[in-house]
């Protein structure tokens, strides 16, 4: 199944590179990729084609796959952490924190000394601050309470959203408000090599660390008391997961805005397919999440061309009904126990 999904992912990325206002053929992609690897081929892509493929579409497809995989894996990990299947990676306050940072940069011009990195960095630090607050609020007597974590996430998100909304209300710039909306709904239009490589590296590292912990993630699902007797420190492990997931989600959100639904839906779909064993849930979530966002981005680019649709609208529009269909189709347990 994983091999099949891997092939589907690569095929989807090829499609993502092919479609667009300038026609590209798959063989042209092949030529460009081979030339980049230093292998001369007899095909001769023009300079313009080279730039479109290598500088624009390849990084965008790559970023789409990375962001999709990151959000889906984060969602799966968070759901194990709070032992609740309706949690998504944003419950820790990542997206509302990032929104404040991004809005400040777009509307107020904060951190302009950082140049083109101002937006992703401000978003990332906003996310970091929000997550730290949530985490500190959730700790009582040196323990992290799951219920407090969820409630603190809601409270902190509210406060940060209020700050974002305040900045929006006070802004006179129609274009700025539009840009903030675009950012909050998510977009991969800014994909370049310079902002695609770091998310990919972070994903590879964090995913590997999470996958190595699949036994502990499974154990968390049995409940805190039981998990504590199974040979690992639940408290330290929770902290570890919170740090990893915040990093993964924060980086993804800082380059793509807060794309919704992926982190919630994909782990659900995966569990419906193969059950809750995280040994399989994590890699399958990564692959399905990547495929989903690659396609969502294709639709986002084509739907109202030459304009681009925010990708968050696509994920919600495709994801919602699909989710409803899955719910209707199968007996599925949502974490309400028995």
């Amino acid at each position: 199944m994983m091999a099949v999904l891997m092939v589907v992912l690569i095929a989807s990325m090829v499609v993502a590179i092919v479609v667009g206002s300038v026609g590209i053929t798959p063989s042209l992609i092949m030529h460009v990729l081979l030339q980049k690897l230093g292998i001369a081929t007899d095909g001769v892509p023009t300079r313009a084609e080279q730039i479109i493929i290598w500088e624009i579409r390849v990084p965008r497809a790559l970023l789409a796959a990375t962001v999709g995989a990151s959000l889906a894996v984060s969602g799966a990990a968070i759901q194990a952490l709070v032992k609740n299947s309706i949690a998504d990676p944003y419950i820790l306050g990542v997206s509302s924190g990032a929104s404040v940072g991004a809005t400040a940069v777009i509307l107020v011009g904060a951190f302009s000394f950082l140049g083109i990195y101002a937006l992703p960095l401000a978003a990332f630090f906003g996310a970091l601050i929000a997550v730290s607050m949530v985490f500190m609020l959730a700790r009582v007597d040196g323990r992290t309470s799951v219920m407090r974590l969820l409630l603190a996430g809601i409270a902190v998100s509210m406060v940060f959203s209020a700050v974002t909304n305040f900045m929006l209300m006070m802004s006179k710039s129609q274009g700025g408000i539009q840009a903030v909306m675009q950012w909050m709904l998510g977009s991969l239009a800014g994909a370049k090599w310079s902002n695609s490589v770091i998310p990919l590296l972070v994903f590879v590292v964090v995913f590997s660390l999470l996958w190595l912990s699949y036994r502990q993630l499974n154990a968390l699902l049995l409940g805190e008391e039981t998990a504590m007797t199974m040979g690992f420190s639940v408290e330290k492990f929770r902290l570890y997961i919170i740090v990893l997931v915040s990093l993964l989600t924060g980086v993804a959100v800082s380059v793509s805005g807060s794309i919704g639904f992926v982190g919630l839906i994909i782990p659900h779909v995966v569990r419906m397919m193969i059950g809750s064993n995280y040994k399989w849930v994590l890699p399958l979530s990564a692959l399905l999440g990547a495929i989903f966002i690659v396609w969502a981005d294709i639709v986002a680019r084509l739907a109202i061309a030459p304009e681009e649709m925010p990708i968050g609208i696509i994920t919600a529009l495709c994801g919602g009904p699909f989710f409803i269909w899955m719910l209707r189709r199968q007996r599925y347990h949502f974490g309400e126990g028995d």
Binding site: K83, N84, S85, L212, R215, Q216, N218, A219, L221, L222, G223, E224, E225, T226, M228, T229, M230, G231, F232, S233, R271, G275, S276, N277, H333, G335, E336, G337, D338
Partner: protein
């Protein structure tokens, strides 16, 4: 060998355990009995380190519990708590396999020995026929037995059971008690059914309002006086003609 030295535990201003001291010898089947709210579960939770006492010490082989690493401790003690097993779906086999976790390092895979132990544990808990089923399809009693199988796969020397016979029908209650009794390890079980405790346990600890009221063999402990003092019921004590164990009839 487990020792509790003057254990006290309070939550807020309520003291739940008062100066409990007791010793549990290896290989015994210990029953912890007492009315609701007497501190049975709290004492067990301190034993398996979910709660930490405010005063006093708990030692296992003369080493304080807090000095064991999580892994070392999991190899010493396995627990079936009262938590409902899971809200997510696992196959029974996958869940029992989780019992092998303390023996796994970062990169180790599940080997033949693990699967042999898992198969044996499932057979012991009488859930082998459920191996490929998922947890959500099982009844409450079946889930309980699956959780027991998981604990057995942990191959610990001490098994702590918090009201293991809850949700079980009479046949499975007896089956579970027979199985647990036959294990060559130390069993510490909180039990509500005093007749079950009398029939199976080597020793009983009677808890009352956070105090250790009495301890000893069922014959020593289960007296009309104790039942009136602690449980507030009148009892008539006889002998079960088949098992030759104490059997209690209650009236008010």
């Amino acid at each position: 060998m487990i020792r509790l030295h003057d254990i006290s535990f309070s939550m807020g201003s309520t003291t739940i355990l008062h100066d409990i001291s007791l010793t549990i010898a290896p290989g015994k089947f210990i029953g912890v009995v007492g009315p609701n709210g007497s501190g049975k579960s709290t004492m067990l939770k301190i034993l398996y380190r979910y709660l930490i006492q405010q005063t006093g010490r708990v030692t296992l082989y003369d080493k304080e519990l807090q000095h064991y690493t999580a892994k070392q401790f999991a190899k010493q003690m396995a627990v079936v708590s009262q938590e409902s097993p899971t809200v997510f779906d696992f196959t029974v086999q996958d869940l029992v396999l989780m019992g092998r976790m303390p023996y796994k390092r970062l990169l180790s895979t599940d080997n033949n020995e693990d699967f042999r132990i898992v198969a044996r544990s499932m057979a012991q808990a009488n859930v082998t026929h459920l191996a490929k089923r998922t947890l959500s399809e099982l009844s409450g009693g079946e889930k309980k037995r699956v959780m027991l199988a998981r604990a057995l796969a942990q191959e610990a020397e001490i098994l702590v059971l918090d009201e293991p016979t809850n949700h079980l029908d009479i046949q499975h209650q007896l089956q579970l008690m027979d199985l647990v009794k036959g294990l060559p390890i130390t069993i510490i079980a909180a039990l509500h059914d005093l007749n079950l405790a009398a029939a199976y346990c080597d020793e009983l600890f009677v808890m009352n309002e956070g105090h250790l009221h009495a301890f000893g063999t069922p014959e020593e402990v289960l007296t009309e006086q104790m039942l009136a003092d602690v449980f507030g019921v009148q009892a008539h004590i006889t002998q079960n003609p088949l098992t030759k164990k104490r059997h209690l009839f209650f009236y008010t």
